[in-house]
Amino acid sequence: MESEIELIEYIESYLNDELSTEDKIAFEKLRAENPVIDLKVVEHQILLNQVTEYGTRVKLKADLNEAYELLDVTSIKAGLFPPLHRMRLIINKFKFNTAIAASVAIITVFATLLSTGYFNKNSTNNYKALRRDINNIKRSQNQLIKGINDLPEKGPVNPGQFGGTGFALTSNGYIVTNYHVVKDADSVYVQNVNGESFKVKQIYVDPAYDIAVLQITDPGFKELGSLPYTFKKSGSDLGEDVYTIGFPRDDQVFNRGYLSSLTGYGGDTLTYQVDISVNPGNSGGPLLNNKGNVIGIINAKQMQIEGAAFAIKSNFILQSVDAIPQDSLENKLVLNKKNTMSGLSRTDQYKKIKDYIFMVKVY
């Protein structure tokens, strides 16, 4: 073997089985004797194998790519999958997380509502009695009902859950007030200006007109003297001076104003708009004119607008009274027709009228 080149060539021929039988035997003998040559043979063999394997694999890859090109992948894909497959997988995967998130959200909502007092039904602003659902008018009115439960307690008597005002229809114990004042009541009491309480029962309610008629059933009740005021049948005029007496607190409060519109909230023809300052608790109070005629019942005010209170027209009180079946009543309900207040000054009018105006306490 003269040179390395020839040796390698010889090895290659040997590996490719190109030698004659004698040469092959001779070379194998040389290989057995000379470990350096043997190593070279092994090395060369491995190298050649690797090169060939590399070649075949490159070719295989090319063939595979070619075969892949022949495939119609889109149609295979269409054949495989229902379209929501992926979506459902995602839903499945995040089901647990979603459940936790949802529970946290629900707990937070209820905790917030609870802590802000949403469930506290005693709040006066949530009292919805006077929303005139029959007209489908959404009212942003503030009910003039007074929550008196947060006032300091007076004596052993449990203060009412709600309060309002009422006034006598007749001298024998019939009282008119707003329906929303006595709505959902367990029991109703009225208290006169001297602080005497009488139990009453509801004998007639008209949610549409927001009118309720009560009767004093308490045996301790003595008949009032004849009523000083009357109920005006006809409509009143714009600009008329009016006043009301009510119980926004535990004592009677006088307020004065004028009739500012012949219709109420949203053009409601059941009520007048009155420019008068009234507060929760004035609901059910009488609206009187200069002559001492009752022209309406205070029932609400509008929150966003200055001086817009509303009063139910007296005409509807008369209609409600007429609607009560007289036969079912223990005492006759006859309305007073004689006004004894016209011509008196305000202060004298008040002195005459104060005994006929009651605080309505609702339990």
């Binding site: 090395e43 190298l47 690797q50 060939t52 295989l60 892949y68 894909k77 999958f81 497959h85």
Partner: protein, 189 residues
């Protein structure tokens, strides 16, 4: 009445023989029979089309190596073998991407243990990559000479003409030098 038999899907044994011979028909047949299954599997487990293609190619290479080394006995369905290999390869890839840390794989077929085959495949793969790297570092014209002579089985005469050597001896010397360098690159990277 003669019924035309389509050259459609070959049975498992025919495919394996075809692969041994390196026939393209058997590769096409492999794709037609098994690619939909693999595509479905990969897509259902957070993969896309390209990844399905890669995985399937690799599984065919595993099969090829196994057939070539004579170790393939048809003791299970070819379908199960391909599916198992793909499943294993995909699991490995998902772990690398760590996309699938918690949830289980969604399976569509039954599968068998193929760890041994994959180990063998990994060895082969490493050798392949090493050779690829060695050839890449070898540079031209050495690489082409080696490839032409040892892979494409061209004669020394053709190579001499192609590269414009004055005679076959020069070409031989050149080839020898290239081979020595390749040997060095391959064994002592």
């Amino acid at each position: 009445m003669s019924k035309k038999i389509n050259k459609s899907e070959l049975v498992d044994a025919e495919i394996i023989i075809g692969i041994q011979k390196g026939s393209k028909d058997s590769l096409n047949s492999l794709y037609n029979s098994f690619y939909p299954m693999v595509l479905q599997f990969v897509l259902a487990n957070n993969g896309d089309e390209d990844e399905a293609k890669d995985i399937f190619q690799e599984s065919v290479i595993v099969l090829y190596n196994k057939v070539k080394s004579g170790g393939f006995e048809l003791n299970s369905k070819l379908k199960t073998f391909i599916y198992s290999v793909c499943r294993r390869l995909w699991l490995k890839r998902l772990n690398q991407k760590s996309r699938n840390s918690a949830s289980e794989l969604r399976d569509f077929e039954e599968f068998q243990a193929v760890e041994y085959d994959l180990e063998f495949h990994q060895q082969k793969d490493a050798q392949f990559l090493q050779m690829e790297k060695a050839l890449m570092h070898l540079g031209e014209p050495c690489r082409t000479i080696i490839e032409d002579y040892y892979i494409k089985n061209q004669s020394m005469q053709e190579i001499t003409e192609k590269f414009g050597y004055t005679n076959a001896d020069n070409a031989k010397t050149q080839k020898y030098k290239c081979l020595q360098r390749l040997k060095k690159l391959f064994f002592q990277p």
